[in-house]
């Protein structure tokens, strides 16, 4: 089933274009950091040049990626749900394997591919950063050391910057997986693109625009300690999983007669 979904995604040229555009966005963010080096800018240690560290020249790559993340994930990994409903494939597959199996496989697939997509993107970004800026040791974050307690997350991250990047990359990827899960659940329940896309985007913007924004929990090397950022992350993930479960349960109940 996984191979079938992968072939379905990769055979669509517009999806390949979407993959490539997002990858180029993160690559551009990395490469743009070398523009001022000929003018005297000190290149920073590779761990501080990653996409999540937000030390790039421009705010736009990060903004374009994170603000519209649900749209990319829905388009890449949940759009087949709308196609299935429009062509009636959902009924054919449900008759063969049961609606429950069909729905759960769609949801698991969306979570899994969203997670893999974002983790691959961020790990590639980390790898290219270590290649492009290998040998650099400077970081403007080291100047902040005297102003934070040694147990503060910033101090701990500065002691282990590579590990800090890995942890935050995993957190971002898991959140993306949960976002994919939510999009797939809404798609199964509502079945209309022009309703699911805006609803998913609005639900995503609630934690993004909050005073304690979810974006703070995706940024290594910030001034906010763990006790400030993990509640936001936990609440957002829990609420999204709960909403996904509600949508999925509702749709399963509605289709109980064709469930296994």
């Amino acid at each position: 089933m996984n191979k079938y979904y992968l072939v379905r995604i990769l055979s669509d040229r517009s999806k390949i274009l979407c993959f490539s555009s997002i990858f180029l966005l993160t690559f551009f963010d990395l490469v743009s950091r070398i523009i001022y080096i000929p003018y005297g800018m000190k290149p920073m240690h590779p761990a501080f040049n990653t996409f999540l560290s937000l030390t790039g020249l421009s705010m736009y790559p990060s903004a374009v990626f994170f603000w519209f993340l649900p749209v990319y994930l829905l388009y890449l990994f949940s759009d087949d749900i709308f196609e299935d409903y429009s062509k009636g494939y959902n009924l054919i597959i449900s008759q063969k394997v049961g609606f429950r199996h069909y729905a759960l496989s769609k949801i698991k697939k969306s979570f899994f591919y969203s997670f893999i997509f974002v983790i691959a993107l961020l790990f590639l970004n980390l790898l290219f950063s270590y290649i492009l800026f290998s040998g650099a040791t400077y970081s403007s974050f080291y100047e902040l050391i005297p102003y934070f307690d040694k147990r503060h997350l910033l101090r701990v991250s500065l002691s282990h910057p590579f590990l800090a990047n890995i942890c935050f990359d995993l957190a971002a990827a898991f959140l993306a997986g949960v976002l994919g899960l939510l999009g797939a659940s809404l798609a199964l329940l509502i079945k209309k693109r022009n309703i699911v896309y805006p609803i998913t985007l609005c639900l995503w913007f609630i934690p993004v625009c909050a005073r304690k924004s979810i974006m703070l929990s995706l940024q290594p090397f910030s001034e906010y300690d763990l006790d400030y950022i993990y509640p936001i992350y936990l609440i957002t993930v829990t609420v999204f999983i709960l909403l996904s479960w509600i949508c999925c349960s509702w749709e399963l109940k509605r289709n109980a007669n064709i469930s296994n």
Partner: protein, 148 residues
């Protein structure tokens, strides 16, 4: 004798005055106040005032002292100096914690003889804007060996 003493006094006063005037001919360390908005989503903003970096030395640093950040006590903002009109970056970007005192940073050689503004952006990608204020100087009038 009296005339001789008067002459010596005049020479000494003249010597001191010339040294004093020559010191005042170069820019000293100033504290220009600034207060403006640190925009949302890591957008850059710049001080309304600009000053000319007359020095040719990149290690005659610019200074920033962030005394207030609406984001909260001890929070961080990113500062640099930039050209007056098109905001070309004229120094590295540096993270400054609120209330951490004055910091001195090197400029790029392109900043020599140019009018510069203080640039700021939030180090966090949030949708909130905050007011930041403090003091800055485009050059402090002496060379230093280490930034910080």
């Amino acid at each position: 004798m009296k005339t001789k003493r008067l002459l010596i006094a005049i020479i000494i006063v003249s010597a001191f005055s010339s040294v004093l005037f020559s010191i005042n001919a170069f820019a000293g360390e100033d504290n220009f106040p600034y207060s403006f908005t640190m925009k949302a989503n890591q957008s850059s903003n710049y001080s309304s005032d600009s000053y000319e970096r007359t020095t040719i030395y990149t290690n005659n640093p610019w200074k920033v002292n962030m005394t207030f950040n609406g984001e909260g006590t001890g929070t961080i903002a990113t500062y640099w100096i930039a050209s007056k009109i098109i905001h070309t970056q004229y120094s590295d970007k540096h993270n400054v914690a609120q209330g951490s005192g004055a910091h001195y940073y090197f400029a790029y050689s392109e900043a020599s003889g140019e009018y510069v503004r203080l640039g700021v952006q939030n180090n966090n990608n949030t949708t909130n804007s905050y007011t930041v204020s403090g003091y800055w100087d485009e050059e402090i009038g002496r060379q230093i060996s280490n930034e910080g």
